[in-house]
């Protein structure tokens, strides 16, 4: 047995097993800090929660006459609750800041060391037994480092934003407890050095996501959304479990290093085993990253608080699928069919979600479908083997989508206050009720436009470089030439749609006349500083974040300021050690890719075409929606007919799933329960029992036939068992 006492202090300084000059600095602490935050905030939440429960109940028992009275009852309890509400403000973002600083230091160390092989740090032997030896180990390499930077960096900003956003919520400490726990599991997910450790994080982030979606559980519908996310993710988890299972059966290990080292020699290129493994991995990835067919949960997940949507459902957790494919790049390189499936699913999802986003009125729903669509782009990238491009877009998307969500949060916050002040029961998230907000929320307006231009792919914002790089890579000729030409076309269309629906969102929200109402308009206000400062930082990142991975030819052209950018293809080079094996396999099997668009043209030409197209669409949309007279939600209601209705109802996918999956499963469970418990037992009870009522319980026990039924089935089973054995 490994002495448990060993892990506590020394483990944090466990010496790296491999690695060149890279000497990680307390990497364990990066994971432990959020966990610590969770424990502290969790205890505070329980203290606050049990007190609040009592207050609510005593309030209910006292039967207050009005809503105000109940609120007053709550506020009386505010004084003792103060500690449970002030501490999380410091603990929650504090641990994140600590983790971010540590990550940055490690990042700089790794940058300086020229690390090639991943550094694996083993803490203790988790499953030491039998043929499967799994260590509780983390792996630090270029991929996990980038992910950690995004998680702790963007995570820290969102934590700070949350202080302003959630301050007045009675569940404030609980919120930070969940958020810290989420970050911990997310870090486990990206740093785990083997599949089981990754799976711990994978399940953990799912659990936290479920808890945070259902955060406002008093609202039945919102709690149900959490359940939906949970169930859909189970399907994905099953895929991941199966993949791990086949991996173990094939390799006898689940460590990344060993599997990826052995894969090129053990597995046959394009063979059944590797295809099965990668397809199951893909199923897992589609669940977590909300791709077709498992995307239905993400829009519903918007029921959670908006910063949660920013952190979990835009920047980090939903990119786990992309991370997974990039991590297993060797396997996907060996399975061209699966890789094509990844790219195809990505393209389909991107286009599909973009069409739905065209017709949504809920500002968060637009962003949710936009997220699904952008995740589709990332899938396309990793599907065609451009892993670095996928991670690049993952990173820039984390910046501008977090910014968009937080900005939307600020808008909703403001709208909510305004509507609350006059007791208007309008939907604070429906864009038809907004309009003209730029006059009230100047900074938010500016920042969100930056993010919009970034996601639309307009030069020189981050999205231009990352998204167009993906489109560029998709237009390659191998391994399924014509298919990739189609995908390329879909990607271009999706990019145009993205520009359109984002511009629509901005115009409906910030421009035109204010539709909130005369009295309400006076209460609209800019968000506090704790909310606008994180927005500003994210806006800067949305502008400059794309400059780290500009190809040399582009850098030398107009788009790179004719060589003025400080670096070229930095991320590609940074990621090279991670993707080298996959690239080598592809080079060997398919030869060098001819990177060119299906319709000709070079990097620079397409740069002009892409940004021009995006700009044109944005302008067209702006012009179209500005001149349009938008009715409010109450006036208009849901679209009643036409194609718009289909889009508004999200292609009726939820209804379809309900018909073909949910109802049959519920039916089967009820059926077997009825057959086993009801018909067979109670049925005989009732039938026979009616004849012989009132003969005492002992007699009735025999005459009702319950036991007879049991014994009968037992005897049947016995006969079957003996039959199998003897014959």
């Amino acid at each position: 047995m490994t002495e448990p006492s060993r892990i506590a202090p020394e483990a944090l300084e466990a010496v790296a097993q491999t690695g060149s000059g890279f000497n990680p600095l307390l990497p364990g602490l990066i994971l432990l800090l959020p966990l610590l935050g969770f424990l502290v905030n969790g205890i505070l939440a329980l203290i606050a929660g049990s007190r609040e429960g009592n207050v609510l109940r005593s309030a209910a028992l006292a039967e207050p006459d009005s809503e105000e009275e109940r609120v007053d009852l709550q506020h009386k309890e505010d004084a003792p609750r103060r500690a449970t509400h002030t501490l999380p403000t410091w603990v929650g973002p504090g641990v994140m800041l600590g983790a971010f600083i540590l990550t940055t230091l490690n990042f700089l160390r790794m940058l300086g060391s020229g690390l090639q092989d991943p550094t694996v740090i083993t803490y203790w032997s988790w499953m030491p037994t039998g043929t499967l030896a799994v260590d509780a180990a983390i792996q630090l390499d270029q991929l996990s480092m980038i992910m950690m930077m995004v998680i702790t960096g963007v995570g820290f900003l969102i934590h700070v934003f949350s202080v302003g956003y959630m301050k007045e919520d009675p569940g404030y400490p609980r919120y930070f407890a969940y958020l810290n726990l989420f970050v911990f599991f997310m870090l486990v997910l990206v740093t785990g050095a083997n599949f089981p450790v990754m799976f711990v994080g994978w399940e953990g982030v799912g659990l936290c996501s479920y808890l945070l979606i259902g955060f406002w559980f008093q609202d039945r519908e919102k709690a149900d959304a959490g359940k939906k996310a949970f169930i859909v993710n189970r399907v994905g988890d099953f895929g991941l479990l199966m993949a791990m299972f086949i991996l173990f059966a094939t390799f006898g290990t689940l460590n990344y290093q060993e599997i990826f080292a052995a894969a090129p020699t053990t597995l046959v290129y394009g063979g059944g085993v590797v295809t099965a493994i990668t397809l199951f991995l893909l199923l897992g990835a589609t669940g977590k990253s909300a791709q077709i067919p498992l995307f239905v949960w993400l829009p519903d997940a918007m029921a959670g608080p908006t910063p949660v949507s920013a952190l979990i459902h835009a920047a980090t957790m939903v990119t786990a699928g992309v991370y997974l494919v990039a991590r297993a790049s060797v396997l996907f390189a060996l399975a061209p069919v699966s890789a094509a499936a990844v790219a195809t699913i990505g393209a389909l999802t991107a286009l599909f979600a973009a069409t739905i986003a065209l017709k949504q009125y809920d500002i968060k729903k637009v962003l949710a479908y936009s997220t699904i669509s952008q995740l589709g782009f990332m899938f396309m990238a990793v599907g065609v083997g451009a892993y670095a491009a996928g991670v690049f877009h993952l990173m820039t998307h984390a910046f501008f989508k977090a910014l968009l969500f937080l900005g939307a949060g600020a808008v909703i916050h403001s709208m909510h206050h305004a509507l609350h002040a006059t007791h208007k029961d309008w939907d604070a998230q429906d864009m038809r009720n907004m309009g003209g907000l730029r006059r009230h929320m100047k900074w938010t307006w500016v920042f969100m436009w930056i993010a919009t231009l970034a996601i639309a792919g307009i030069w020189p914002f981050a999205g231009f470089f990352s998204k167009d790089e993906i489109i560029w890579y998709v237009g390659t000729s191998a391994p399924f030439g014509p298919l990739y030409a189609v995908l390329w076309g879909m990607a271009v269309v999706t990019a145009a749609l993205t520009a359109f629906y984002m511009a629509r969102m901005m115009i409906l929200t910030f421009h035109g006349p204010n539709r909130t109402g005369e009295a309400e308009g006076k209460h609209l206000h800019e968000a506090p500083l704790t909310m606008t400062i994180p927005l500003g930082i994210l806006a800067l990142l949305s502008i400059f974040g794309g400059w780290i991975n500009v190809p040399q030819s582009v850098r030398d052209s107009f788009f790179g300021g004719f060589g003025m950018l400080p670096m070229s293809s930095w991320l590609d080079e940074w990621m090279a050690p991670v993707t080298a094996a996959a690239d080598a396999i592809r080079l060997e099997q398919l030869g060098a890719y001819a990177y060119q668009s299906p319709v000709g043209g070079g990097h620079v030409t397409w740069g002009f075409i892409a940004t021009g197209l995006a700009m044109a669409v944005v302008l067209a949309a702006t012009w179209y929606f500005r001149s349009k007279d938008v009715p409010t939600a109450v006036e208009q209601g849901a679209p009643r007919s036409g194609f718009g209705k289909i889009l508004y109802n999200k292609w009726y996918v939820d209804e379809l799933y309900d018909r073909i999956i949910v109802r049959p499963v519920v039916g089967i469970s009820r059926f077997s329960w009825r057959v086993v418990d009801r018909v067979l037992i109670d049925g005989t009870v009732n039938a026979v029992g009616a004849v012989s009522k009132g003969t005492g319980w002992f007699g009735s026990l025999f005459q009702t036939g319950q036991l007879n039924t049991y014994a009968f089935i037992l005897a049947l089973g016995a006969l079957a068992l003996l039959g199998v054995l003897i014959f």
């Binding site: 003969t695 005492g696 002992f698 007699g699």
Partner: protein, 118 residues
């Protein structure tokens, strides 16, 4: 077949003949004068009609259970008593342990009031 079993066979035959003979003899010899009491099926002095599940006082069961346990004790003790010398001290210790356990049960029953009729 060993002839040692012959006496057993003879005993078996005699008992069968005896039983059959008594029934047959009583059928042949007795006078038949029917009365309502005589026509009733004989059921150990109980009235034979009514619910088959007549309720007995639980006290009877208590006695019956106690009887079974001490009955089994006798079955256990007699073979040991017969072969006591051959079984030696080991057998004695084993039976003593058995008796001790039984005594515990007995004390329990006594304290619980299992031996009180009222």
């Amino acid at each position: 077949m060993s002839s040692a079993y012959l006496p057993v066979l003879m005993l078996f035959g005699v008992s069968v003949l005896n039983a059959v003979g008594m029934v047959v003899a009583s059928q042949v010899l007795n006078p038949r004068r029917a009365t309502p009491e005589k026509d009733m099926p004989y059921e150990s002095g109980m009235i034979p009609l009514g619910d088959t599940r007549a309720r007995f006082s639980v006290k009877f069961y208590m006695v019956a259970i106690s009887f079974i346990i001490f009955d089994l004790e006798a079955i256990f003790l007699i073979p040991w008593a017969v072969e006591m010398r051959a079984l030696g001290w080991g057998g004695f210790v084993a039976v003593s342990i058995f008796m001790m356990v039984l005594v515990v049960g007995f004390v329990y029953e006594w304290k619980k009031g299992g031996l009180d009729w009222e």
